[in-house]
C-alpha cells in the first residue's frame, strides 16, 4: 500500500469535512477497497473511515413503508435486521463470507459498483432511492457502468430506501473462484409491475432486463419468459464463462427467482 493518512470521524459532518481534503477517499467496510490498496491500484492521500459514524447505520421503516438502510450498515446487520424485506435480507446474508459481512457495508458496495456485486441488483430491481448527504438519487439514475456511479467526489451514501415489494427473490450463480456473482438476478414484484435487475453478466454493469419485466408483469410465472432471447453480446466473457453462457444463466436465474418468489 502507498502511505496515506487515516481519519476516523464520528459524525457525518466531520466525515464530509474530512472528505473535502485533497485526494481524500471514503472507506466504508473496506472489503473491496483494502485489497485494491494492497495491489497499489489506488493511492489516496487520506482515507476517511466511515465505520465510526453511527448516524449512517441502522435499519428503519419510513412512513411510506419503505425499508430504509443506513449507508454504513453492514451486510450482517442487514441480513439480521431487514426482515421486512426477506429477499433483501437473504441477499445480504449471502454476500461474501461471514467475516466480510461483518465489515462490508451497503453504502460501500453501492459506491464501488463492482459489476459482480449483489446489492446493485437489489437496489435497481427495487427502484430504491440512494440518499446522500446532498441529494436523493433514483436507482435508475445511480449506476453508470462498471465501477462508476452518479456519486460526486466527497458525496457519502447515508441511506438507501427500498420500497418493499409484494414478492421478490434474488438468485445468485457464483463465480467459482471469487464467489462473487457470475450472474445474479433480482426479481421484485410491485403493484405497479415487475422489475428485474441483473448483476455479474454485463460489461455495462448492473442492468434491467426490460423484456423480462414486461413478460413477468403480465404473468408472474417462469413460463412467461419462454421465447425471450437475451443476447450474449455485451456480456462479460472471461475464464469463467462466455457471454452466451452468462446470457443463458440470466434466463435460468430469472426463472428460479420468479419460482422462488412465488
Amino acid at each position: 500500500m502507498y502511505a496515506f493518512e487515516i481519519d476516523r470521524p464520528t459524525t457525518l459532518a466531520d466525515a464530509i469535512k474530512a472528505l473535502g481534503a485533497e485526494d481524500a477517499q471514503a472507506l466504508g467496510g473496506g472489503q473491496t477497497l483494502i485489497p485494491s490498496l494492497k495491489q497499489r491500484l489506488a493511492s489516496p492521500a487520506r482515507l476517511v473511515c466511515l465505520s465510526g459514524v453511527a448516524e449512517i447505520k441502522g435499519i428503519r421503516t419510513a412512513d411510506d413503508g419503505a425499508l430504509c438502510i443506513g449507508g454504513g450498515t453492514t451486510h450482517a446487520d442487514v441480513a439480521a435486521g431487514a426482515g421486512a424485506y426477506p429477499a433483501l435480507a437473504a441477499l445480504a446474508a449471502n454476500i461474501g463470507d461471514p467475516a466480510v459481512r461483518n465489515r462490508g457495508t451497503i453504502g460501500g458496495s453501492l459506491a464501488n459498483n463492482d459489476p459482480s456485486a449483489c446489492y446493485p441488483a437489489a437496489v435497481l430491481a427495487s427502484g430504491a432511492t440512494v440518499v446522500t448527504n446532498t441529494r436523493q438519487i433514483a436507482a435508475d439514475d445511480f449506476f453508470d457502468g462498471m465501477f462508476a456511479t452518479a456519486l460526486e467526489e466527497g458525496e457519502i451514501i447515508t441511506e438507501v430506501r427500498f420500497p418493499v415489494p409484494e414478492a421478490a427473490s434474488y438468485q445468485k450463480f457464483e463465480q467459482p473462484a471469487s464467489r462473487f456473482a457470475l450472474v445474479g438476478v433480482f426479481v421484485a414484484k410491485y403493484a405497479t409491475g415487475v422489475r428485474v435487475a441483473v448483476t455479474g453478466a454485463s460489461e455495462g454493469g448492473v442492468f434491467r432486463w426490460s423484456e423480462a419485466e414486461a413478460a413477468l408483469t403480465s404473468s408472474f410465472t417462469p413460463e412467461a419468459l419462454d421465447g425471450l432471447v437475451l443476447s450474449g453480446d455485451g456480456m462479460i466473457a472471461d475464464l469463467h464463462g462466455s457471454g452466451a453462457y452468462r446470457a443463458h444463466l440470466v434466463d435460468v436465474m430469472t426463472r428460479r427467482a420468479v419460482a422462488a418468489a412465488g
Partner: protein, 787 residues
Amino acid sequence: MPKDGGIGASTRRREDVRFLTGNGHYTDDINLRGQAYVHFLRSDVAHGRLRSVDTSAAEAMPGVLRIFTGKDFEAVGGVPCGWQVTDRFGQPMQEPKHPVLAHGKVRHVGDPIAAVVAETREQARDAAEAIELDIEELPAVVDMKAALKDGAPKVHDELTSNLCYDWGFVEENKSAVDEAFAKAAHVTTLELVNNRLIANPMEPRVAVGDYNRSTGDSTLYTTSQNPHVIRLLMGAFVLGIPEHKLRVVAPDVGGGFGSKIFHYAEEAFCTFAAKALNRPVKWTSSRSEAFMSDAHGRDHVTKIELALDKDNNFTAIRTETYANMGAYLSTFAPSVPTWLHGTLMAGNYKTPHIYVNVKAVFTNTVPVDAYRGAGRPEATYQLERVIDKAAHELGVDPIALRRQNFITEFPYATPVAVEYDTGDYHATMDKLEEIADLKGFAARRKESEARGRLRGLGINCYIEACGIAPSNLVGQLGARAGLYESATVRVNATGGLVVMTGSHSHGQGHETSFAQVISEMIGIDADMVEIVHGDTANTPMGMGTYGSRSLAVGGSAMVRATEKIINKAKKIAAHLMEAAEGDIELKDGRFSVAGTDKSVAWGDVTLAAYVPHNYPLADLEPGLEETAFYDPANFTYPAGAYACEVEVDPDTGRVTIERFAAADDFGNVVNPMIVSGQVHGGIGQGIGQALLEACAYDENGQLLTGSYMDYAMPRAADVPFYRVDHSCQTPCTHNPLGVKGCGEAGAIGSPPAVVNAVIDALQSGGHDIAHIDMPLSPSRVWQAMQG
C-alpha cells in the same frame, strides 16, 4: 479393540496443541535483530530483452539499503536442476541457465529482475516502483505445440529450440506396441489435458537470510520440505558456500504439496544479501506473488490409445504427451513427466506392451514441477479415463473391464521398468463396492432425476510408486542426488529419546507417528520420544519429505537406527544381569533373561550407558546414540479404487459431488487417523483439480489467474464427507515397517473418478459426450451439453 498407543493406534497429534493455540513457529514468525526487507521487482511481460535496469532514482529513496540486479549474480552460479533426462536418441536434455535475478532476458511474468533491500517492507516496494526498466518486449510462446514449430520464438537463445527433451519409454518396446495396435480388435483413443495447477499451500513462501560475521556462517530460514537439499543445491551450485558454513532451517511449514521441495532464487538471494549487507534479510511472499513465483504443477497435453483384443483384454497402450517445463527447469521438473509418469503407465493392469513418449517444452510461463502426486496423477488420469471410454464404446461395465485386466500375481514386472512387490486390486475394488454402496446407486439416480438433476457414477483404480527411491536406480535414471533417508536416535541417560530425522513434517504429523513407532519397538510411552526435524544443524543429511516417502524411507531409517540402539542396549542389559546376550528379550520397556524372572528396566540400561560404572568398557563404548541411513530396495506401490457420485444441474452445468469413497491399500498403517486425514486432503485437492482449479495464461503469456479471485480453490461447501477405508493391507515386502505411503493417493485417485462420474451423468441424460477437459467448471459442462 483399537490400540491406544504404538503402531496401529489413532494417537491424537502432539503438534496440534501448539498449532491450535497460536504457538506454531512458522518462518514468517521469525524476526531477527537488524532485519531488512527485500522486495523483488518482477517482470510484467512474459518475454523480453532487458535493455537497461536503471536503479539510480530508486537508490535515493527513503530506507533503501541496496538494490541488486542480475549483474550482482554474474559471479555466482544459477539455480540448478536436480535431474537430467536422456532423450530417445541418447542425448542429454537441453538445460538452460537459470539466473538468480534475470540477466539479459526476462522469460515469464514474475521473473525477478531486481531486488530492493530496505529498512521496511513498504519502503522496499516503494523504491522498486522507482526502478526504470527498458524492456524490449518479444513475442511469447505459451502453447506447447506452437513452441515446437519451426521459427517459434525461443525462450532461451542459447538452446537449439524450445524442446527440452523427446523421451521414449521404453524405446525398445515401440515396434512391439505398434504391432499390437495393428492386430487389435478395438482401439480407444482419447486426447486430453491435465490442467495446470498451483499448489497453494496456505502458508506463502518466506525466506530469512542471516550472516554471522564472527564465524562466517550463513543461515537460511525457509519454508522448505527438505532443508538439506536446499543447503546442498544452494551451497554447492549457487553461492559456493561449503555445507559446514551453511545452515538451513525449515521450522513449522504451512503445507507444501511439492511446491516447497524446490530450491528457489529468493532463498539464494536472501542468503547472499545477508552477507553482502551484513544484516538479516527477509522476504515474505504475498499470495499474488506466489502465483507467479511458486513452481506450478501438471500441465500435460496427452493423446492416449488403448488396444484391446476381441475378449476385451488390454493388449497395448501408446501415449504421446507434451509436458510444460515453463521458462526454466525447476529442481525436479524433468523427472515428473518421465520417471514419475512413464513408469506408472501400466496402472493396475496386465497390459503386455506399453510405449510412452514425452516431449518436454520450454514456454514463457512459470516453471512447472512436482505437485502432490507428481507424474502419477497424470498417468492415472489418462489411463483411467481411456478405460472408461473403452468400456462405453464396447458397451461393457467399467468395473468388470477393469477387473478382467487386473494384475493378480505378485511380484509383477511391468513393461515400463518397475516391479510391483505386492497388491490385491480385487480386494480394494470389493471394499469400494461395499463402502460406496454401489448397489444403491440406481435408486439414488432415480431420486436425483426426480429433482431434475443428472446423476453419474465414476469409478477408477490407481497405483503409484512411492517411498522414493532406490538411489542406484534413480542415479541411472538421471537423478543428481541419492534418495535415501537418515535418522539419528539419541537416548538420554534417563531413558528419553530424541530422534533426529531427515524427513520433514509440514502437516503430515511425523512428530506423532514416528514416536508411535519407537514406542512400539521399545515398549515405552511415546511421550518419552521427541522428534526433531527441519534443521541441518542438528539432523543428519536427509532428503526430506515428498513422494509419500517419510515413513517408508525416513521411518525405515529410524527403525534401523533404533534396532542398533536395542542391540547395544541388550548387550548392556546382558552385562547387568550377567546373562548371555542371546537370552535377552525386550518387552514393554524391560529387558529380561529368557526363562528366568531376572529383568532390568529400560531406564536402568540407559543410565548404565551414560554412567558406565558397571559396564563392559573393554567391549562396548559408553553412550547410546546411533545413526542409520536407509536406502530403499524398491519403490512402494500403494493402490486402490475410488468412486464418486455427482449430480449435474442440466440448466447451469454445475456439478456437485454427492458421495465420494476411497478404498486404499497402504500396506501397514501406523496411525489410521492421520492416514485418513491424508486421504481426505488428497481427495479435496483432486476434486479441486477436477472441478475448480486451473492456472491460465493468455496468448501473450499474461497470467489470467493471478489471485484467488480467479483461481478457484475448493471450499468446505464444494465437498462432501468422504468414506475412506484402508483395511485392505498387503504390506510392502522390502521395508521394515511394511508401509507404502499415503500422502499422495487421494490426489492421484480422485480426478478420474470425478470426471468419469460427470461423463456418466451427462450420458445418462442422453448427451453424446465422450470427454470434457478439467476443470469441469459449470461453463465447460454447459458448453459441452450444447453439442
